[in-house]
């Protein structure tokens, strides 16, 4: 297996300088945009690191051409550019799947929260009505006990 991979390495043309620059520019752009979003508080740090990690991996592979060449041989690709972008695509795919999972969890929490709030409000409403009924019953009882002081009690 390893021998056959090493055999094909020689057939793979390494990244052209221009391709390398494009990959590095993409990586740098990701880092800059992510940092700016964190600075503006539009992206939380806990979600930013995955993107920065993607950029770092892309940059590292672009700079260290040999690793990319071996990877290309391993996956059976003749072009390192294809390998680079295929890898990035897989990474983004995993990321979106993870977001769907997080979204499902958030939806469940948001649902439970809404339900508990609704039940709590209904309970509060019931207690308020009971208190109000109790208060007016007390008032009526007091008025019956001392009709001449009615105004004092009401006030």
């Amino acid at each position: 297996m390893i021998a056959s991979v090493l055999d094909t390495v020689g057939d793979i043309t390494p990244l052209l300088d221009r391709q390398r620059y494009v990959a590095l520019t993409v990586a740098a752009t990701i880092v800059v945009v992510v940092c700016e979003l964190v600075r503006r508080r539009k992206l939380r740090e806990e979600y930013s690191w995955v993107w920065v990690a993607t950029a770092v991996v892309v940059a590292a592979l672009a700079l260290e051409g040999d690793v990319l060449t071996y990877l290309s041989a391993f996956v059976g690709s003749s072009s390192p550019v294809w390998t680079l972008f295929f890898g990035t695509m897989l990474f983004v795919l995993a990321l979106t799947l993870q977001f769907s999972v997080r979204l499902s969890r958030l939806t469940h929490r948001h649902r439970t929260l809404g339900q508990r709030l609704a039940l709590l409000e209904a309970e509060l409403q019931r207690l308020r009505e009971r208190e109000e009924a109790q208060r007016s019953a007390d008032r009526r009882a007091a008025n019956r006990a001392a009709p001449d002081r009615e105004h004092d009690v009401v006030a």
Partner: protein
Amino acid sequence: MRGIREPTAVPPTTILIIPAFNEAERVGAVVQAVRAQGLGLDVVVVDDGSTDKTASVARAAGATVISHPYNLGYGCALHTGYCHAWRAGYQRLLQMDADGQHDPTMLVRLVEALDRGSDVALGSRYVADGAPPSSAAKRIATRLFAAIASRWTGMRITDPTSGFQGLSRRALECVVNDGFPEDYPDTDVLVEHHRAGLKLTEVPVRMHARAGGLSMHRGARIAYYGYKMLLTLMLLPVRRPTPLRARDTVARCS
């Protein structure tokens, strides 16, 4: 009679929950028609984040209203009603739709079925009395899921999507779990009831065509409904229960 009562004083017996989303024009008449039956039901309308006057109309008609802060879906509205009933200690629960499709004079049939010892009384428009017309896609979906539900529960079920139901306290205990589906809780819930060892009965009821407004079973949603239901049913035997930390958080907290 108001829907929320002391859990300990006189034991409350039967509650009717009506999930409603933007049904201001219909829910008032439904609540009044139910109260006119004189069954002594505590009527609770679960307002699922309506943007119209559903809540105030229902309250004016004499129902207790529980309002979701935002729209959570039909299944969620039912689940909130179940949890309320569970917490308040009701022994029996009836549920019907707010759009006027379910005939309040049929409620007594559900109560009778529960009295005869059923845990789940399913009001079916197809057993007798004739059904209101519906679209071809809907008829095919109903036929398909009726066949699946019948096969998986071992009894003849003709109307698995019916939201006109009665539940015993035993059945209520099963549905207050937080894993209750938020959209389209029907065939899968029936199969789960059967797996939990509950006794299901189908009760013939009369249903009307919608008195207006929009049905939740329309257009592309029927396709999603079919997909969701098949996936849920296929995974049912191997699916993990809701994680313990997330279970019954709505029903048991107070």
